[in-house]
Amino acid sequence: MTDNSLEIRALHFSGVASRLRRLDASLLLWLALIAVLAFLILNPVLRLIISSLQQTDTGHFTLANYRSAYGNIRHLQSLLNSLELGVGVALLATCFGVPIAWAISRTDMPCKAFIRLMVFAAFVTPPYLGAIGWILLAGPNSGWLNKVWMALTGAGHGIFNIYSMTGLILVIAVTSFPYTFVFTSSALDLVSSEMEDAANILGARTLRTTLRITLPLVTPAIIGGIIISFLEAIALFGAPALIALPARFNVVSTQLWQFFEYPVRVEEAAAYAMPLLAITVLMFWIQRRILGRRGYTSVTGKGGERRMIALGAWRWAMLAYALLVCALSVFLPMLVLIQAAFAKAWGRGFSLDNLTLHNFYYLLFEQTQAKQTIVNTFVYSGVTAFAAISLTLAIAYVVNRKLVPFSNVLAFLCMAPFVVPGIVLAIGFYAAYAPPPLALYGTATILILGFTTRFLPIAYTSSAAGLRSINPEMEEAVRILGGSRLLAIRKVLIPLLKKSLAGAWILVFIPATRELSSAIFLVGPNTRVISVMLFDLSEEGNFEVLAALGVILLVATVAIAAIGSKVIGRDFMLRRNS
């Protein structure tokens, strides 16, 4: 009896020890991941908020930054301009995106695959390239559209002026309408056509059915798309800088940029960035509320054969509209951009003697900086994608398998950068890591860290989705046969995840190659990236070389997206995964 109880006590003791060991390991893991996320997200955002309340030199608490940020009528005007821009873009993008989504998802409009491809093209085109295309198209007098107008009417000057608020709204709307498109079409794809049949059988005609049944069902998704394009528009830096500055008005993002001109006023910038952060957080909260409402969207899954609405002759009208949108967003800007890239002087037009490869030769061989910039862009983006995915995969695994307590905190932190505009995040990074002790300003490290944080949500959603698709029993089968957890991850999990990880890598890589709004605050003389160089070239007015660089960026992006579609499946970038 005594022996027995001794044994039990011994067992109990060893049990406690082993439990402590296990707790230790998982606690360390949790602490490590929290530390990384705090470094990437919490600290920059906190530093942003704190420095907005600090005196520049002494660090004492003050509200002076807010006073000087908002005590200026020009600064307030910029804020209003941003709101006007956001609302204008959201409405115009809805007019572009929703009808096309409806036509592709519900009707027999011809050439659907082609239109879809063009929407995809608009999606991967960086907004600032679209803006440059539109400067070439609708610059006062010299723009192509104005030249055509003058040639047709004999008028003395053109009628389009891209350097205006209207011009800016158009330029941003044509590159951000894919958001409303994706939101609406993925909701429409889930509405069973039996919903429409039920209205038809009661005597409703196509138009009535569409307006009374189909569109109301997807209204939450449309509102979601509107909110996203609004936020995209007010957070954008490149296109407003290219168009608003010459037009002599400011929006919040360009105003923030001016705080960084010598002398740099980080504290004032931080204070001025607060409304942008607040609006973004608020809008995302509203969006969640709307999309999260149950019962409204009758997303009951696809119910059997889907019947397309026969539009009759109207289908050609619908196609014409879709082609018009594609023309505004892809054909026209790309056409003039490519023309400029291969032209000695873009204004001389499409003649053979104007053709040259010199712009590319100049970039790739003559100008040493350009080569370095191109290499920088792809190296930084590649490293960023790799870092973001490794980190989020580890976190998604820990969260999915509930390896540590409070793992949801980790997931929340990964998704948090989603509500921080890139430009605000960059200022936070600048405030946190540019000064000593880390003194990372101008290094590749700060760029890569900033990019990694910026794209953490994309990486996390893809990693978590990939992980969820794998049955945990796959791993348990390794464990029960005698393999450790690490062996299970190495031999089974990673090989099975290869494809979705490759997809996730591309999903981070592509936006990283074109990222401007956070890069512009973090680059140094030796760490310039293509987007920043494009911006600088546009200030010099060297549109031919600029266009050539843009073409290089686009070709590389399209090539990688094409490889991605081939390996992972078509459309992988247009899937809604939030």
Partner: protein, 356 residues
């Protein structure tokens, strides 16, 4: 000494008691099923045996060594067990042969020996010709065979099966039941089998543990479980049955509308008070004329209320003349009574199981 022993095992999730104080012992080479409806705790119990979950209370021992206790457990990879999962969990990135060889390679067995044993094992499950295929190219039944081969080839101390047939179609399921039993007869691996399908449990098992609400209701051989269910749940879960309540006075047991002599019942029926019995629909006989009473049997006049012809048998609902209750009776296809007709229903006390 028993091979596997669960003593007072419980598992609590917050306020929910998934497994409630389970005791179970398996002899070496025995095949025991955990049978019960979904949510009864059978899979949780299996996963505790495997070591994926730690018990909140109680211990799990193998050959006298403690594997699991609330304060710490041997991890699954050190238990020398193997498991067949509901999804089969055949690794799609490895061929059939690589899947089966995996466990042997972990045991650092020489390559030639691994090849030989994998070859033999694939032979046993009739999969040799598909050794180089990838799982995506196999049917459900073939994947199931690979899972069996992969689990058995390492000669595990205990084999665990988690509803392995629930993803197969009906014909294949029936075939695989016998396949699993055949493999057990060949290798004599101590086995715990989780299922919600009573036929599966009855075909494969030496003993069945019927679980409900986290508890084991009864553990017995299939025949005993069917003939002598000890609880209302077991009687209702295994096959169909009628529950009738009677009052015993020591001499006879009075039911609603008829009585049976106490002497005809098994000895454990109490001499006084109420008792509930489970009577299987086919353990009663329906006849046109009153049968001659013999060895404790009794006949009751009944009226046919409803009936259905199911091909292999008739399904009747009858009501004893003097009684409010109805009984289900099955008869051979020959016994054809129209609805509303009178008949005699004969009870055999020895086939009536006393429910606790």
């Amino acid at each position: 000494m028993s091979r596997l022993k669960l003593s007072g095992v419980s598992k609590r999730y917050g306020d929910f008691l998934a497994v409630d104080n389970i005791d179970l012992e398996l002899q070496s080479g025995e095949f025991v099923s955990l049978l019960g409806p979904s949510g009864c705790g059978k899979t949780t119990t299996l996963r505790m045996i495997a070591g994926f979950i730690d018990p909140t209370l109680g211990t799990i021992e193998m050959d006298g060594q403690i594997l699991s206790s609330p304060s710490g457990s041997v991890p699954p990879d050190r238990r020398q067990m193997s498991m067949i999962f509901q999804s089969y969990a055949i690794w799609p990135n490895m061929t059939v042969e690589q899947n089966v060889a995996f466990g042997l390679e972990l045991r650092k067995i020489a390559r030639a020996e691994v090849r030989r044993r994998v070859g033999e094992m694939l032979e046993v499950v009739h999969m040799s010709h598909l050794a180089d295929r990838y799982p995506a190219e196999l049917s459900g039944g073939q994947q199931q065979r690979v899972a069996l081969a992969r689990a058995i080839v390492i000669r595990p101390s205990v084999l665990l099966l988690d509803e392995p047939l629930s993803n197969l179609d009906a014909t294949l399921r029936e075939e695989m039941r016998f396949e699993i039993r055949r493999l057990h007869d060949e290798f004599h691996v101590t086995t715990v089998y989780v299922t919600h399908d009573q036929a599966e449990a009855m075909v494969t098992s030496d003993r069945i543990a019927v679980m409900n609400g986290g508890r084991i209701e009864q553990v017995d051989a299939p025949r005993a479980l069917y003939d002598k269910p000890k609880t209302r749940f077991v009687a209702g879960f295994i096959g169909r049955t009628n529950f009738i309540e009677g009052t015993s006075d020591g001499r006879q047991i009075a039911f609603d509308g008829f009585a049976l002599p106490h002497a005809g019942f098994e000895r454990d029926v109490p001499a006084g008070g109420k008792a509930v019995f489970s009577v299987r629909p086919h353990s009663m006989r329906l006849s046109e004329a009153p049968p001659t009473a013999n060895n404790g049997c009794a006949a009751v006049g009944v009226v046919i209320m409803e009936r259905a012809f199911l091909g292999e048998h008739w399904d009747y609902v009858v009501k004893p003349r003097e009684s409010a209750m109805t009984l289900r009776v099955t008869t051979s296809p020959m016994d054809d009574f129209p609805v509303g007709a009178s008949a005699w229903l004969e009870f055999e006390p020895r086939q009536m199981a006393l429910i606790a």
